[in-house]
């Protein structure tokens, strides 16, 4: 079953088209990450899925229904952390959570557990205005976790968090996802989300450029890989000559060289290297870096 289904969704504000003909399916239980530059349409897509705005064209289905129906019981089963989460500063952390729990009609009994899970147990009785950015962000996640949501929307959840808080944040999301929560996370850093995503959707100027698992994206991108070899003494030139068929060969120094080759010829290359025997002492295969993949999609791929 699909938790989210967008079919041919476009959104225009006056003259500007911010979402262009997007087709996207998020399966139940999946961790989907949307990446794109600022203004790529990530936040607008999320607002469409949350029913905060209506599409100009196309259809949005969330948990099998129209997300804009506000009284729907489906809203009780979704959580959202906005990009810059804001709360009423005069309220205490506990009061904020009590208010949102009331709106979701979930029992107030498990706040303490949630507060502990996001690490705000000791700060629960302090005013939110005294919270740091990271604490506010975690309170944002706490309200989204109320009522064990089936579907979580996280809009750039880690912006403004330091690396260790960032890790904690993703650990929380991982633990939710292990219990079956579907999550949709937006980010502009591929490096950060690569290990956390089941699938990645790449957006540019409101259009979906690509969507798939990391290996799929890599394959589609067709970027070369680098094979680095360490040769026996004085063998570097002869090895370089023999490998010239696979792609560009760079001599790094008297012992090391690097071959830039396509994924399709990788295995053949490896076999031939193995056949060289002692002449090659060490080997290293370097896949394209994430920012290369991202840049490739941004620069070379046009939306269909």
């Amino acid at each position: 079953m699909n938790a989210i289904e967008l079919s041919n969704v476009s959104k225009r504000y006056e003259q500007k088209t911010v979402v262009k003909n997007v087709q996207l399916k998020v399966r139940a239980g999946e961790r989907m990450v949307m990446i794109g530059h600022n203004g790529a349409g990530k936040t607008t897509l999320m607002k469409l899925m949350l029913g905060l705005t209506r599409p100009s064209e196309g259809q949005v289905q969330v948990l099998g229904g129209d997300p804009a129906v506000s009284t729907s019981s489906k809203r009780q089963t979704l959580g959202y952390v906005p990009e810059s989460v804001a709360f009423h500063g005069a309220m205490k952390g506990r009061e904020v959570l009590a208010f949102y729990a009331g709106l979701k009609q979930v029992s107030t009994a498990h706040y303490n557990e949630i507060l502990a899970r996001v690490g705000l147990k000791d700060a629960a009785d302090r005013r939110v205005s005294t919270y740091s950015k990271g604490m506010r962000q975690r309170l944002g996640l706490a309200q989204a976790m109320l009522g064990e949501p089936q579907l979580l929307f996280l809009d750039e959840p880690t912006s403004g968090l330091d690396p260790s808080l960032r890790r904690q944040f993703y650990e929380l999301i991982d633990s939710l996802s292990r219990s079956g929560t579907t999550s949709l996370i937006s980010s502009h850093s591929l490096n950060e989300v690569e290990a956390r995503a089941d699938r990645i959707a790449i957006l540019k100027n409101g259009a979906l450029l690509a969507c798939g698992t990391m290996p799929e994206l890599l394959e589609q991108a067709g970027l070369p890989i680098y094979v680095q070899l360490k040769t026996a003494e004085a063998a570097v030139n002869s090895v370089a000559e023999k490998m010239g068929w696979a792609g560009e060969v760079h001599k790094l120094d008297e012992r090391n060289l690097e071959i830039r080759c396509m994924v399709s010829s990788k295995m053949e290359l490896v076999r031939r290297i193995a056949a060289l025997g002692d002449t090659v002492e060490d080997m290293n295969i370097v896949p394209p870096r994430l920012d290369e993949i991202y840049n490739h999609y941004m620069e070379n791929v046009q939306p269909q």
Binding site: G51, L52, F87, H88, M91, K104, Q105
Partner: protein
């Protein structure tokens, strides 16, 4: 309904937390007490009780103050939440947009109710128990309290309308001030101007009454100055309006209309708004 109640309570608790309720009670209470004590002095000679006399002065003051308090409570209610980003999150919860408006409305109404009941009511009780002015005119005083609440509600609703139309808090604050000036000061000045300029007396009394009823603040004035004879004696000018024979239900329903229409317009505009 549950969400509306929750939002209303939240709004009221917020008013308690940031001392709005306390400040309003203090302001209205001290004003009422001053006017009541002044009113209790000449009561022996005219025969009208302090309560009845002070209805005139309190109503004249409420007409300025309550719209101001109500607008200060409400101008920020929607635009402030849009700006802070709290509305975005709120609307992803199982809450309808009309529930957001009505929740805030009832919450703000609770704040005004507390301020008027404790402020005006408390001042009246103090006067009755500490002076020998008696309880004559208590019905007029109660009517004044109730209609003051209704007047406040009118300006809460008008404040929401401002709050949903404009895009920035600062604009909303400016618009609220203009609204207050318009209804509380300028409209009446305009009416006076028309009367002064009208040498040939072409404006009939009926037209003039109609113009007065077109403003919620004047409707409130007429309601308080003419509803009770005891007050009318003290008011003096009331005789003019009393001849028109506006019934209390008519005046009240006009005021209620001034609540319902802006609220409906606010809900309508809010529904169309994209976040």
């Amino acid at each position: 309904m549950n969400a509306t109640r929750l939002l209303a309570i939240n709004e009221f608790v917020d008013g308690l937390r940031n001392r709005w309720v306390a400040a309003c009670i203090l302001l209205l209470g001290s004003m009422a007490l001053t006017l009541l004590l002044v009113g209790s002095a000449p009561s022996g000679s005219t025969g009208a009780g302090a309560l009845a006399i002070s209805v005139v002065s309190l109503a004249s003051l409420s007409v300025y103050l309550l719209p101001l308090i109500a607008l200060m409570l409400s101008f920020d209610a929607l635009v402030g939440e849009f700006e802070r980003g709290t509305m975005l999150l709120l609307l992803t919860y199982p809450v309808s947009r009309w529930q957001v408006i009505m929740g805030k409305f009832f919450g703000h109404l609770m704040i005004l109710t507390a301020a008027i009941t404790i402020g005006y009511g408390g001042a009246a009780l103090i006067t009755v128990f500490t002076t020998d002015s008696g309880t004559a005119g208590w019905q007029a005083y109660l009517t004044m309290m109730a209609s003051s609440l209704v007047l406040g509600a009118v300006f809460i609703a008008l404040g929401y309308l401002v709050s949903v139309i404009v895009r920035e808090r600062s604009t909303a604050a400016g618009a609220a001030v203009v609204l207050w000036l318009l209804f509380v000061v300028l409209y009446d000045l305009g009416l006076l101007g028309i009367l002064l300029a009208d040498h040939e007396q072409q404006i009939s009394q009926a037209l003039f009454s109609f113009l007065m009823l077109a403003s919620p603040t004047d409707t409130y004035r007429i309601l308080n100055l003419t509803a009770f004879d005891t007050v009318g004696q003290a008011a003096g000018i009331a005789g003019v309006a009393a001849k028109q024979g506006f019934s209390v239900p008519l005046l009240l329903s006009l005021l209620v209309g001034w609540i319902i229409l802006p609220l409906l317009a606010t809900i309508g505009l809010f529904h169309r708004r994209e976040l």
